[in-house]
Symmetry: C2
Subunit: 145 residues, 2 copies
DNA sequence: AAAAAATAGTTTGAACGTCAAATAATTTGA
DNA sequence: TCAAATTATTTGACGTTCAAACTATTTTTT
């Protein structure tokens, strides 16, 4: 019962705060003109080869219309490059510009630091247990909801 | 290094999923006309005595202007009662209506059920480690930002 | 090959959430 | 008393989201 309370409390607070905090981290960094949403879009585009709109929209679970608006803004701000595919001229290819890559990597570093801070306090054994627990949780959520 | 990657990935996905799930739970419940944001406002108002706009806005970390708009909608939908304070006529007092209380309690129950279901999936050791990790994560955020 | 259907993206209109700055009403304090 | 502070609302702007209408292109059917 006690652990349930702690879990509930921590989870609730974490969830409520995590977006705000991450947003702040993004805004206080070198690239202040990107929103958290922009960052999610950039993460979905990734560092690899250019992706088309539909696949990125599917990753983000938003409509392509929504993604078009986000990409318009990212292109205007210089974080994303957009071009037509030559093979299929319906397709629009998007990829991170140099600036976009830099922002992406800075954000990834923030995430890594966060994980390091958490893991630093745990023994190897505990780390393994935590990993197992989280994977279980994730599976549980996917199955149940 | 590998375990860190897994942790990061699972944590990110978990957080993203839980938000979606919670939103769905709210929308599919008895009170379908409330948004997740509405629910947060109601949680900040709480079941106790009426609160003024400024204190609730501070709890939510939004401006009073933002809160005014949210409360307008909640009053219109019948979840929140709004009245002027008699002692200080600048102050607006807000509290949950009966309908608001019902929605609040239903949401709380959802949370409790979710946590119960999650904890049931884990061994005692996993529970202990998870709790420790989450508290550490929360501390990281509080300290860093 | 022409017509129909499918696919990929964009645009539009509406709703919500947010802020900063301007405004209005009231209370406090010098 | 009257200037300053406090409390809340309004306004204007921007960001996020969706569904539905639309455009352009490719694929399939007849």
């Amino acid at each position: 019962m006690d652990i349930n309370n702690t879990l509930n409390e921590v989870l609730v607070k974490l969830f409520r705060n995590i977006n705000t905090i991450e947003e702040k981290a993004v805004r206080e960094g070198e690239h202040r003109d990107i929103t958290m949403n922009d960052m999610h879009v950039m993460e979905a585009i990734g560092l690899e080869t250019a992706k088309n709109m539909t696949s990125v929209a599917r990753t983000l679970e938003v409509t392509t219309g929504t993604l078009t608006i986000a990409v318009n803004s990212l292109v205007k701000k210089g974080y994303v490059d957009r071009s037509r595919s030559e093979e299929d001229r319906r397709v629009v290819l998007i990829s991170l510009s140099e600036k976009g890559r830099k922002a992406f990597l800075a954000h990834r570093k923030f995430h890594e630091d966060m994980i390091d801070a958490v893991v630093a306090e745990l023994t190897e054994e505990e780390q393994r247990v935590l990993e197992k627990a989280l994977i279980k949780l994730h599976a549980f959520f996917r199955e149940t909801y």
